[in-house]
Amino acid sequence: MKILIVDDFSTMRRIIKNLLRDLGYNNTAEADDGSTALPQLMNGSFDFLITDWNMPNMAGIDLLKAVRADARLKDMPVLMVTAEAKRDQIVEAAQAGVSGYIIKPFTADTLREKIDKIFERINAGG
């Protein structure tokens, strides 16, 4: 399981990376923005994407849309971890095909729960 963590704050990337390691996911890579994440996704064999929304060049929502629009990446599960909490934004992310949505600040339990749920759904073939 190879996971890409995208957030413009290196501290948040480290937090997520550590939490993932706690959950048994050791194979992670990082990107600081949608525009650097997308080439990594295109080149690397990632299985899972965790992304922030509010980033300088390419926002997480645009990264999500780009992933869903790409023939090879479109089925990749995408978990949004963000401080953006407006109803419109959550609806927009849902419509863009987000697999899960976590509001910052979040707990380790929430992250585990959402990741488990996403994989449950994938394994159920949904």
Binding site: I15, L19, G60, T82, A83, A85, K86, R87, I90
Partner: protein
């Protein structure tokens, strides 16, 4: 212009020499009117310039908008930063204060047990003493298992407490953005008052929010964020998503 005036002046001389008073008076009146209309034209232009400058000033209402809403907002945002950083520091310090004595006690007890174990290995220990040592080792192993778990939990908490850097960083960037906006508008204001009738280009910056795709950072209480439709907490998000069929 001058040629026309000269021509009229010559004509005037001709009229006066011909003692045609009526024609001369008409010409003088006409020339006066010409001068007046020039004056009015100039005055009209000045009035229009002034009007435009005032309009531009009013168009630049961004500044009044900033002072009315965004500066008080920015103060609340910075207060939020202070509160968040304070909370994170306390969370970290609590975890450290709880963990340090445990780590110290594990280290001290392990050293004591090691010394006793060495005595046992060198056959310097009576059976009675060994029985005591065995009990101590058992108690130590049990305690260390529990303390190790507590320390691990506290370190996790320290890890999670660092999320303040992301959350406050987003808020601070937003305030920096506002400060730049104020600066640009003040420079515009100085330019208006400095250059007579210079028309400044109205600076219009959309305040960041949903819709531009960029996001606006954490919702800060007691700011304009409160007026937008903000979902509170993970439960609210989960409810909304499940209502959308997730």
């Amino acid at each position: 212009m001058r040629a026309r005036q000269l021509e009229r002046a010559r004509q005037l001389v001709v009229h006066i020499e011909a003692e045609d008073d009526e024609a001369a008076n008409r010409l003088i009146e006409e020339m006066g009117r010409m001068h007046e209309s020039l004056l009015f034209e100039e005055l009209g232009k000045l009035t229009r310039d002034l009007h435009e400058a005032l309009n531009a000033f009013r168009l630049d209402s961004r500044l009044s908008e900033i002072t009315k809403n965004e500066i008080p907002d920015a103060k609340e945002r910075l207060n939020y930063v202070v509160a968040m950083t304070e909370q994170s520091a306390h969370r970290t310090l609590n975890a450290v204060e709880e963990s340090l004595p445990m780590a110290e006690s594990i280290s001290r007890q392990a050293k004591d047990l090691y010394k006793a174990w060495q005595r046992f290995r060198h056959r310097e220990m009576s059976t009675q003493e060994f029985r005591l040592l065995a009990q101590e080792v058992e108690a130590f192993l049990e305690r260390t298992g529990g303390d190790g778990e507590s320390i691990r939990r506290n370190l996790s908490d320290v890890l999670m407490a660092q999320d303040f850097q992301d959350l406050t960083g987003q808020v601070i960037r937003r305030v920096i953005h506002l400060v730049q906006d104020v600066e640009e508008n003040l420079v515009g204001l100085v330019r208006i008052s400095g250059e007579r009738l210079a028309v400044p280009e109205p600076k219009r910056k959309e305040s960041k929010g949903a819709g531009d795709g960029k996001g606006s950072g954490p919702a800060v209480p007691n700011t304009s964020d409160g007026s937008s439709d903000v979902i509170s907490g993970q439960d609210g998000v989960d409810d909304l998503l499940s209502s959308l069929g997730f």
